[in-house]
Each structure stands twice: as C-alpha cells, then as structure tokens.
C-alpha cells in the first residue's frame, strides 16, 4: 500500500518511455532487424552449445553410473595397531600394510535401516562380494561372486533391462552370469556350473539368466546369486561386505559420503572419489562451455552497445526536442535502456527459437548418439539474461544521451 502510489506514478511515467523506445526502434526497422538477428545468433549458439554439452554430460554420467552405486559403504579397513610411544619419546616404525581379508559390516541390518530413513537416498542395497572360480567341465574362470537382495538391488542396476537370455532370478541354486563369462565357459541358460570359493566351499548352480551390462570387465566376471548362497560360499555367515547407495542428486554424493562416514565410522566412498578422472573431464567441459557462453554474451553485449551508440548520435536532435518539451534526463536514460532491453528480448526470443530448432534437428539426425533435452527453465533464463544484458549494454550510450546539453542538441540538424 505504501508503495502503491509511487509505483503507479512510475508506471504512468514509464508509459511514454515505452512508447518512445518502441517508436524509435520501429522508426529504423532495418537497423533493429539486423541487430536482433545478431543477438539471436548469439543466443542460439549459447542455447545449442549448452544443451549439447549438458546432453553429452548426462549421457556420460548415465553410462558410467548406470552400472555403479553412487556411494559404497564397506567395513573399516584394517590397519596396524601400534602401542603408544613412551612418554616424551617418539616412535619410529616401519609399517607393512595389513592384508585386507573379507570383512563383514557389523550390525549391517541396523545401518541399512538407519540409512533407509534418509530421504535423499533412493536405494540402500546390501551386497556380499568376494572372489571365486566358476567351472564348467575343464574350463575355469575367475569371477566376482555377487550376493544380492534382489528387491533392493533393482535400484542399483536394473538387471531386468540388461538380460540377454533367461529370466531375472537369484536363489539357492540359481545364478545369473554375464554374457562374456557365458561365452568363455560355453554356458547357456539352463546349464549347470560349479562355483568354487576356495577352502573346499563349493556349490553347483543353474544358470537362469545371462545379462550384458556393456562393460566387458563386468560381463566377464559378475555372477549374481542371493545373499545366503554367497554368505555360505564366502564363509561370512549372516554378513555382507558392502552397502550400496543411490542418491537423488549425484553431485551431492561426496557430501553425503562424508556425513555417513562420520555417522557410521565405516569406510565410505562416493563415485566422485572413485571416478575423479570423469569428474575432472566433466568440470573442464563445463568450464569450456562457460567460456564460450561468456564470450558469445560479451560479443552480443558489445554489439548492442555499438548499435545504440550510433543510434544515440542519430537521435541527438530528438533528444534535444524531448528535453525542451519537458522530458527529464531520467526519462531519456530510460528510453535508451528500454531500447537495449527490448533488443535483447526480441533477439534472444528469436535466438531461443532457432536454438530449439537446432536441438530438435540434432535429435532427429543423431538419434543413436544421445538425446538432448531442453529445459524450459534454461530457455527462459537465456531470454532473461539476454534482456538484462541488453539493458546493461545500453547503459553507456543511454547515459550519454541523457547528458546531452539540450541547448546544443537542439542546434543539431
């Protein structure tokens, strides 16, 4: 209420600034058109490059993290326990690192239930994994035995989607194996294979499913069974070696990993730590796009500024008249700021349209590569930023126009 009156006044007085700005732009259609096209090219480049890089990054992340947990929780690593140094003295030791035997996470059910309470986690899945051999006749292959809780593991890797043959099932005598392993051992769905985890712990299981994750290392080594079977084979009755987590915002993984580490005292690693190379690549890509965007935006801003600088000189006489007719410096300032904003708005609206079409074209042409999604919020922010950039670009010329000496401007013919 308090501001209603001054706001109303501003609205009333802005009315004429709008009109003059629009008329000035319409009065010089060619110039207005050309600069709008220039701005729109800049905006289109920004939209397209951003969408392309974002699509590329999402694609890379999907490919990498599709077959990985975001956060892994393992039992605390074993280290040497040293006796305390005698008072006032230093201990000089030569340590040899401890062998890390398979270890179960203490009270893992409680940890799992505690983690289930966190809304940010989309999946908490127990896993018991250890080395073993798979044998079919005389063919042997070293494998990673994966004991899973099938319902929960679905949230980590949706194995159903990767099945090449057979069905999704793990159980006392059912295993699923990777396609490469199936080839190496000459196995097909329905065949039997012998699992050997050493120390005479053996089992014969039936292959019920063959999957292909698309990562050779995994396809040649992973053998899925249920928790119980794996516990028996790996001699960890009732235990698990790992809790796998998926998180809603993957870039929050490291932050939460640190929190869980403090909370549980266990060994916690996020994908960001284990894939630091990827993260590096992603962030340098982001930086490159950022650079391109900044430079394109700069060239657009200078484009608008130079056009308006010329237009301000062309309008010297009009500015003088407007001042003589009672127009204030602020009004002249606003007329030219509005022109800058309007050019930014019109140009970027056109540019966003062009960028959008480019993206659609890309999507239909390269369907096999990956699909770029365009967020409406990104288009909107491109328009808003361009409009603001237009106003900023107009600042210098507009100030100059406002400060024209009306007595001199009037003489200008």
């Amino acid at each position: 209420m308090l501001f209603a009156k001054p706001l109303g006044q501003l609205g009333r007085s802005l009315w004429i600034e709008w009109r003059i700005a629009l008329r000035f732009l319409a009065d010089n259609p060619l110039q207005t058109f050309l600069i709008s096209v220039a701005i729109s090219v800049g905006a289109a480049v920004i939209v397209f490059i951003t969408a392309l890089i974002m699509g590329l990054q999402n694609n890379t992340i999907d490919k990498t993290l599709g077959t990985q947990a975001h956060i892994r929780i393992e039992a605390t690593r074993q280290h040497n326990i040293l006796s305390a140094a005698p008072h006032g003295q230093y201990l000089w030791v030569l340590e040899s690192p401890r062998a890390q035997r398979l270890q179960t996470i203490n009270n893992w059910q409680e940890v799992r239930d505690a983690l289930d309470q966190y809304g940010v986690l989309t999946t908490v899945s127990p896993l018991i994994t250890g080395p073993a051999f798979a044998q079919n006749g005389t063919a042997r292959a070293s494998i990673a035995l994966m004991g899973i809780d099938p319902n929960r593991y679905d949230g980590i890797i949706k194995l159903q989607d990767y099945l090449r043959a057979g069905r999704f099932s793990v159980g006392a005598s059912d295993v699923m194996i990777g396609s490469q392993l199936a080839e190496d051992l000459g196995l097909r769905v329905g065949d039997k294979l012998r699992l050997d985890a050493g120390d005479d712990r053996q089992a014969v299981s039936k292959v019920v499913g063959v999957f292909e994750l698309g990562v050779r290392e995994l396809d040649s080594r992973y053998v899925y069974t249920d928790l119980k079977q794996a516990q028996t084979l790996l001699n960890l009755p009732g235990g698990i070696t790992m809790l796998e987590l998926k998180i809603a915002d993957i870039f929050d993984a490291e932050h939460w990993a640190q929190r869980f580490k403090k909370l549980t005292g266990l060994h916690v690693q996020s994908w960001m730590e284990t894939n630091s190379q990827l993260l590096n690549a992603l962030s340098s890509q982001s930086m490159t796009t950022q650079m391109i965007r900044v430079f394109v935006a700069l060239s657009v801003i200078f484009g608008i500024a130079s056009v308006l600088a010329v237009s301000v000189v062309q309008r010297t006489r009009e500015v003088g008249i407007l001042r003589a007719m009672g127009g204030s410096q602020q009004q002249i300032l606003r007329v030219f700021l509005l022109q800058g904003g309007l050019l930014g708005l019109a140009g970027s609206a056109l540019g966003v349209l062009v960028g959008y079409s480019l993206v659609q074209l890309f999507n239909t042409m390269s369907e096999l590569l990956f699909v770029i999604r365009l967020e409406p919020s990104m288009l909107l922010s491109a328009i808003m930023i361009s409009t603001a950039a237009g106003v900023i670009a107009a600042a210098v010329p507009a100030r100059r126009a406002a400060q024209y000496d009306p007595a001199v401007a009037i003489r200008y013919v």
């Binding site: 009333r12 008329r23 009306p406 007595a407």
Partner: protein, 253 residues
C-alpha cells in the same frame, strides 16, 4: 492590445520572466572563451508579446535558451514566475520548464517517428504519461485552431514547412504555458506563410493569455509586436515600444 494596457500589467502583475544582470560566457577560462551576453536585465509580464531582434551572432538564441532553462547563465539571476533559477537542480529546472514554458524552433523540430497528434501531445505525455480524454480533445482543438484538423493522424514528414511550424505552435501551447519562446519560427517560411504563422502567435497571445518572446529577423513582424528588445553583441541596446525603435536599427544587415 494597446500599449497602455501593457504598462498597467507591467506595474501591477508579477513578472513571468525576470532577468537581472545575466551573463553568459562560453568555454570560460579557456583560449576559446566567448562572452556572449553582458549584464542582460529585463522583465516580461503576463500576456506580453515581445520581439527579440539583433544581428546574427548577437546572442538571441543563447538568451532564449537561457530563458527556456535549456542552458544556464554564468552569472546573474533569472526568475520564472517568481522562482529563482540559480541554485535549482537540473531536475527542478526540467519540471519548471515542463510546467511553464513552451518552445517553437526555427526548424520546427517535430519528431518524425510520431504522428501529428502525438507530437502535439508529447509535452503532456512526458509529464503525465498516457494522455487523458480531455488532453487529447484539447490537442485536437489546438490543431483545429491552427487549421490542421485533417492531418491529426498523419506522419509529420508529409507536412509542408508552414504546416509543421503550426504543429510546433500547437505543441508549445498544449501545456497552457505562461511563457512561449519562439526562435525564428518564421525564418524558414515564405512571406505569406510567415505572416499566417505570425498571426497565430498574435491570436494565441490574446486568447491564451500567455507571454510570448519571439526572435525574428523580419522587421515587418517585429513591428507588429507591441514591444521590441534589441541585442547587439550580447548587450540590450533597445527595450521599448516597437514603434519607437530608432530607425537606425530597423535595417536588418
């Protein structure tokens, strides 16, 4: 309007415009220093019609710009309707100009991006924003009075010089100003058109009760104003009834 009436208002009424020892020096304290106005003092009362004459370069436009608050003096005092200008901010001067002063220039100075009607309404729109119905009607009324009622919606570039100057006169009057300043409004027109345009000034001077200061090189027209002020090299050398202007001055160089 007779001289005796003017004298009465000069004594009793408050001056619309009052100048005391006004000086203007361009580029002061530089090698290009140019002292254009020297101790100019004068009073203009409501509904006076004053001709401002002088040779080219004598400082008429400079003086008019100062009266219209488009330019500031180097020293001296200037009052518009009793308000002292010296010490006012740029914003205050703009407001006073928008409330009290109407301008007409030699080169009509219309804005070609706008229609005839919008040009006339411009001073009102700059001051109040979107024009009201009454304001539009008044602008149309003024255009009718200057004989341009058929051109209201047209672009100004299609009008002749005389017609454009009439639009400029309507524009100067639309805010009902107390003071109208005209800088060689007929300088660009042929004799007959100049007479017609000047007749408009005479008419509005009476009908709208506004003081008008008109710069002109044309002795026929200045003779039709009750009062003449003559500038020579930035000094007032004559200020009085036009009829009494020494004949030595009436020859335009």
């Amino acid at each position: 309007m007779s001289n005796s009436q003017l004298t009465v208002s000069q004594i009793t009424g408050q001056a619309v415009l009052q100048l005391d020892k006004l000086n203007k020096i361009f580029n002061a304290d530089t090698p290009l220093q140019n002292h254009v106005l020297h101790d100019v003092s004068l009073r203009v009362c409501p509904s006076e019609l004053v001709a401002l004459v002088g040779t080219s370069g004598s400082g008429k436009s400079t003086l008019l710009n100062m009266m219209g608050l488009l330019d500031v003096s180097t020293s001296g005092e200037l009052r518009i309707q009793g308000h002292l200008i010296q010490g006012m901010s740029e914003q205050q001067r703009t407001q006073l100009r928008s409330e009290s002063i109407g301008f007409v220039f030699q080169f009509h100075h219309l804005i070609s991006a706008f229609s005839v009607l919008d040009n006339v309404l411009m001073p009102l729109m700059l001051r109040f924003g979107k024009p009201s119905k009454e304001q539009i009607e008044y602008a149309e009324h003024l255009l009718n009075e200057v004989g341009l009622s058929n051109y209201i919606a047209q672009s100004t570039s299609r009008l002749s010089g005389g017609q454009q100057q009439r639009v400029a006169i309507a524009r100067a009057l639309v805010t009902r100003p107390a003071l109208v300043l005209a800088d060689e409004p007929t300088g660009n027109l042929d004799t007959q058109t100049a007479d017609e345009v000047f007749a408009l000034f005479e008419r509005f001077n009476v009908e709208h009760q506004c003081a008008i200061v008109i710069v002109t090189h044309d002795p026929r027209l200045s003779a039709r104003c009750p009062r003449t002020i003559r500038l020579t090299d930035g000094r007032i050398v004559y200020d009085g009834p036009s009829a009494d202007l020494p004949s030595v001055f009436t020859v335009t160089p």
